[in-house]
């Protein structure tokens, strides 16, 4: 009786590249395109090449600031629902997600600032902080946890990688990188296997394994198109390994990067006043 469903427990140990990128955009000035990769391609060591690849992936979704609209479709055994939300981010630490639809949850907002998450509930006019004991619980009924929103790690800095496949896979030129967390990295899984488009240099698929090396969830990336001036996969889907018929799909409708977002946006006061 005293515990949440086991599945949400498992989800606690996970992070999602895409959503993280969007929700807590890293404050690196500009995005220097594919410059680091080109340098690596000329380099001899595979190590250098992996580092450059991950450097590129890290910056794919991150920016100094961002603002946009996305939809999140959650499909579980018990319910299906689609939410439309507006998102803002500033630096790596601040992000705000506000639900636009469905009507019942319109205006419900999630504010992330540093390691804390607050929720604003407009109809009852309350701001509540998510307690640490509930960081492992599902965020908005999705397959993401609250923890996924605040956990920040970098592929380049927190992992060591090795190229484990290179060539055509299902007719797509693919580089497969197997990433293992560094000993002190703030990472909770055993390894991540990522397939990257060899020429587009965006992720195709990421498989997340727990510390016992069991697959916990997979993440699919597709619908590559121009979003806010960047060529990125506009659709990302996470599938929990223990419930393959369930999924959470995020689609970027529109997005602008580095157009400046007011810091004041992320205060609790503004959260309530909005």
């Amino acid at each position: 009786m005293s515990q949440h469903r086991k599945t949400s427990r498992k989800r606690q140990a996970l992070m999602v590249l895409g959503v993280l990128g969007m929700l807590m955009v890293l404050g690196f000035p500009g995005v220097p395109g594919d410059r680091p990769l080109r340098a690596a391609e000329g380099g001899a060591s595979q190590n250098e090449r992996v580092k450059a690849l991950m450097h590129k992936i890290d910056r794919l979704f991150r920016s100094e600031s961002s603002h946009g609209v996305m939809t999140m479709a959650v499909k579980t055994e018990r319910y299906s629902r689609t939410m439309k939300m507006e998102v803002w981010s500033r630096g790596m630490d601040q992000s705000l997600v506000k639900i636009l639809a469905p009507k019942k949850d319109r205006g419900v907002a999630t504010l992330k600032s540093g390691k804390n998450i607050w929720m604003y509930l407009p109809d009852i006019d309350k701001v509540t902080k998510i307690p640490s004991s509930m960081m492992g619980s599902s965020w908005m009924g999705s397959h993401f946890t609250n923890d996924d929103l605040v956990r920040d790690s970098s592929w380049e800095d927190d992992f060591t990688g090795a190229i484990t496949f290179e060539g055509d896979r299902n007719g797509v030129p693919t580089i497969e990188v197997t990433l293992t967390p560094k000993p002190d990295a703030p990472v909770v899984w055993g390894k991540v296997v990522m397939e990257i488009h060899a020429t587009g240099l965006y992720p195709l698929r990421a498989l997340y394994y727990d510390e016992e090396m069991n697959l916990t969830r997979s993440m699919m990336f597709d619908d590559v198109k121009d979003v806010g001036g960047r060529k990125i996969p506009a659709r990302q889907r996470v599938i929990p390994a223990d419930k393959p018929q369930e999924s959470t799909t995020i689609v970027y409708e529109s997005m602008e990067f580095d157009q400046g977002v007011d810091e004041d946006m992320f205060s609790q006061k503004r959260l309530r006043g909005r």
């Binding site: 009786m1 005293s2 515990q3 949440h4 469903r5 086991k6 959650v74 579980t76 055994e77 018990r78 319910y79 299906s80 629902r81 469905p102 019942k104 949850d105 419900v108 929720m119 509930l121 109809d123 009852i124 006019d125 309350k126 509540t128 902080k129 998510i130 307690p131 004991s133 509930m134 619980s137 599902s138 908005m140 009924g141």
Partner: protein, 445 residues
């Protein structure tokens, strides 16, 4: 002189001699009687205490938490799956066919996040039907502050965080530990946010109408009790409940009622489709639900018997020493009696009589004292609140720190029987020695 006459007069004489023998060494006999009487009275008080503790445990478990019988969907028992609901139709079916005296209370369960001011924590929701719950459990009488009335919210506490009057507020009761965690008092308004059954975000404002005394660990630490209607509104649960709790006047024989309700549920499920999630309907007695507690409670009698035997075995060794001493002291005397033609059987009988007199002498005041102590325990209880201010928690259930005794014929007769059994056993040794005495040897020795 007929043999019969001889026998009865000898027997009377023997009784007399045995009685007199007992008082030849007043100090030793008095000491033995005092030791045995004391031991007996302590054992009786112990038995009363254990029986009371077990009765209290059983009462707590069934009257406050578990009821006597519970009905769930299997999925709920296994994973606390909130989608494993008992359909309203089945609730009605069971409710309409309750045997006389049997009461039923429906409950719902869920999780949410509760917050007050800047504090927040995970909470367990329990939806109840207050009138029905009051017929099955005494939870309504176990409030630390506030009242059990869940019909309307109490007025806000002066100085509490203000709430806009246009937002509806529903009444709830919260666990005592949870109240401490959130710094909540009666009259405060807490916010609950949950993941509803349809995946949306359930939320609302809830007035603390009462704070519950510790009853159950989870309820105490994270429990928020509300009406089933309030629960359904928050969790967007349209129909059904998670648990049916039954109480029956014949609480020691739940078996037939368990089978009857199970059969009723199976029949209903056979003609009405159950929802795809949740599995079959399962009916269990409280002993099946909390077997460790049930076993502990049922062990009370065994514990009393074993402890009595152990206790008196030690006392028995003391008695053995006394009896052996008194027999050896009187070796010459026995030799003379044997030489005069007294049968060995009579001598053995005399020693047995002595030990029975001794035991009786201890049993009478010992029982009286034990029963008096038992009466005190039963009436005034034993207050452990200095050591256990929050009560004693065992198997998820919190017991009051004041333990009351429960005097039964069993709790008095068990130590008494054990005392007699042990003394008679202890007498066997000197009796056996006596049988082997040779008159010439012992008189000469």
């Amino acid at each position: 002189m007929t043999p019969h006459h001889t026998h009865s007069s000898r027997a009377r004489m023997l009784v007399f001699i045995a009685w007199r023998n007992l008082w030849r060494n007043r100090f030793r006999t008095g000491l033995s009687i005092a030791a045995f009487g004391m031991a007996l009275s302590m054992m009786i008080a112990y038995g009363v205490f254990i029986a009371g503790e077990m009765k209290q445990m059983r009462g707590y478990a069934t009257d406050l938490v578990l009821g006597h019988i519970q009905l769930h969907r299997e999925g709920y028992v296994k994973d606390q799956d909130i989608y494993a609901q008992i359909p309203q139709g089945l609730v009605k079916e069971v409710r309409d066919h309750l045997p006389p005296g049997v009461a039923l209370a429906p409950r719902t369960y869920g999780f949410a996040m509760g917050s007050l001011g800047s504090l927040s924590t995970g909470v367990m929701l329990r939806g109840i039907s207050p009138e029905e719950e009051a017929r099955v459990t005494k939870i309504g009488s176990r409030l630390k502050s506030g009242g059990f009335d869940l019909s309307k919210p109490v007025p806000p506490r002066p100085g509490a965080e203000a709430v806009s009057p246009r937002i509806p507020v529903h009444p709830v009761l919260i666990g005592h530990q949870l109240a401490r965690t959130l710094h909540a008092q009666v009259g405060d308004t807490i916010t609950l946010v949950s993941q509803s059954l349809d995946g949306s975000i359930g939320r609302g404002l809830y007035r603390v109408n009462g704070v519950l005394s510790p009853i159950e660990i989870t309820l105490d630490r994270m429990g928020v009790v509300m009406t089933i209607e309030t629960f359904q509104e928050l969790m967007i649960m349209e129909d059904g409940v998670h648990e049916l709790v039954f109480s029956t006047p014949d609480s020691s024989h739940t078996g037939p009622l368990v089978r009857q309700i199970q059969q009723q549920a199976n029949q209903w499920a056979g003609t009405h489709a159950l929802s795809p999630f949740g599995g079959q309907v399962t009916v269990r007695s409280w002993e099946t639900i909390n077997p460790t507690l049930a076993q502990t409670v049922n062990m009370a009698g065994t514990i009393t018997v074993i402890v009595s035997l152990l206790f008196f075995s030690i006392a028995g060794i003391g008695l053995l020493n006394t009896l052996l001493m008194s027999v050896f002291e009187r070796k010459k005397e026995f030799g003379i009696l044997l030489a005069l033609g007294m049968g060995r059987g009579w001598l053995v009988a005399m020693v047995f009589l002595e030990s029975i007199f001794l035991t009786l002498g201890a049993a009478l005041p010992g029982t009286a004292l034990g029963v008096y102590w038992g009466y005190l325990l039963e009436t005034y209880g034993w207050d452990f609140s200095a050591y256990l201010p929050d009560g004693l928690d065992f198997m998820g259930i919190v017991f009051e720190p004041v333990l009351y005794g429960h005097m039964t014929l069993f709790s008095v007769l068990t130590p008494l029987t054990a005392l007699f059994a042990i003394t008679l056993l202890a007498t066997l040794v000197p009796a056996w020695r006596l049988i082997r005495f040779q008159p010439v040897e012992v008189m000469g020795g």
